[in-house]
Symmetry: C2
Subunit: 276 residues, 2 copies
């Protein structure tokens, strides 16, 4: 699992602002090395005001084969894909893009799939759950879509930007009519699953993402924030004995799916396979 | 010397077209790791027609602190520096740039210094030598300038682009009047040092960079091409028992100088030192 970098090394990058908190560079670079693939995944800090300069620059690099996308660029990056996978198409946001043989880019969203996979690894049933979801950005949208597809009964979406929560509720209801998705509700007595898909909890002084009521041991708790110490929400879940998944669990759930997605890129004929 | 990549890793990149042949990513990344510095140097393939998209994109990345430059971009990159060191100022080409605390970029040219240092490590005297130099691009220009400064008596510059050789001869004569620098001459009886600073020898089928006459054991031979098997010129030098330096020797000579150059970048006050 020793990472090596040479002139022939293929590049993948994760873009975000901030970037220092991301776990993907280590996770993916080690996975590539373990698989004998001459590739690394780099952290690329994209200050938001330089997005339009950096992103086209990255996508033009001859030996860069894929991008991961984190906060706050997941919705904005969807328009850079030539085509979108099903989750990305529903939500209008991507967290992974790969370059195809013809130079076009395919994007999809794996935040939701990674989250659902991490929950399923805890051997809990999602069917019929009533979910309170904080955050209607890229990650929150993806999780809402995948939870609806996984059979939860209801999702209440809370977001400081009310119109964003409204739009997400409408989108997921349209895609999965059997799921009762509503916007703006806070914790109610019926809730038995709480998910934080907002960035709150990332900074040391952060509190809870909103009113979560009183946690009960039968509740499922999830938090997308990746950090070394538990977020306030995860700490409460631990104290109450709730089954929970952290941002790191979700990241692990995603790595397999995205490694496969990258590996499935179309390849140019061997005769054209130089470095561009 | 294990290379690790995390969200906090600082980036350096080498840009070139092609890029697969470069040795710097391995050499620098291992040097950074050995020094306990959380940084890597990446190979970035810049197809020439996408230069104007990629380079501003790279320079805008918040956690990218420096660039190395290889063929064919060394002259072109000089205009991207806010200020130039002495070798770069004379030649109008750079092979390393670093970001300063205020976001400005300092560029300099280390090809010549690396070459002269590699020759000096062979314990040979350069003073009074009569040099035949192939290639008046970035590397050739830098080597001409540093050889003149090191006291060689004469340099004949051969390049398929005659006006480029002319311009280099004039520039170095102006900077170091004691050295007799001329353009367009091929191998003559007085030559006792031959340097290939052209890309010829990089591809498997390549021959000599031009008419080198008959090598004698007292000649010094140098070749900037970095490759695993000796170039035709180095092979002749080996056969004749000439003291010689390869592209790899020259690269090693440069690594120390450039690592120091990067480390000497001005730093923002600790309070502002986040990731941008």
């Amino acid at each position: 699992m020793t990472i090596a970098i040479n002139g022939t090394t293929r590049l993948y990058a994760i873009i975000g602002d901030p970037i220092a908190q991301v776990g993907s560079p280590k996770a993916f670079s080690e996975r590539f090395a373990a698989a004998g693939k001459d590739a690394v995944l780099l952290p690329v800090h994209v200050p938001a005001d330089r997005f339009d300069t950096i992103v086209p620059g990255l996508m033009a690099i001859g030996n860069l084969d894929g991008l991961l996308v984190t906060i706050p660029f997941k919705p904005r990056m969807a328009s850079f894909a030539s085509r979108l996978g099903p989750a990305a198409k529903c939500i209008g946001a991507v967290n992974a893009l790969r370059r195809e043989a013809d130079g076009s880019w395919t994007g999809d969203m794996f935040d939701g799939a990674g989250f659902v996979r991490a929950m399923e690894r805890k051997r809990v049933a999602l069917g019929g759950r009533r979910v309170l979801l904080f955050g209607a950005g890229g990650a929150g949208s993806a999780i809402a879509y995948e939870l609806a597809k996984a059979g939860v009964a209801a999702i209440a979406v809370a977001d400081p930007q009310a119109e964003r929560a409204d739009a997400l509720a409408k989108t997921v209801r349209a895609a999965v009519p059997a799921c009762d998705v509503t916007a703006g509700r806070s914790a109610s007595s019926g809730v038995d699953m709480i998910v934080n898909a907002s960035p709150i909890g990332m900074r040391p002084g952060d509190g809870l993402p909103g009113d979560v009521g009183t946690l009960r041991p039968d509740m499922l708790i999830g938090d997308v924030v990746v950090c070394d110490t538990p977020t306030p929400l995860i700490r409460q879940a631990q104290q109450q004995g709730c089954t929970h998944v952290t941002g790191r669990d979700m990241l692990l759930g995603q790595v397999d799916a995205i490694v496969d997605f990258f590996a499935a890129a179309s390849r140019p004929p061997a005769s054209q396979r130089v470095t561009s």
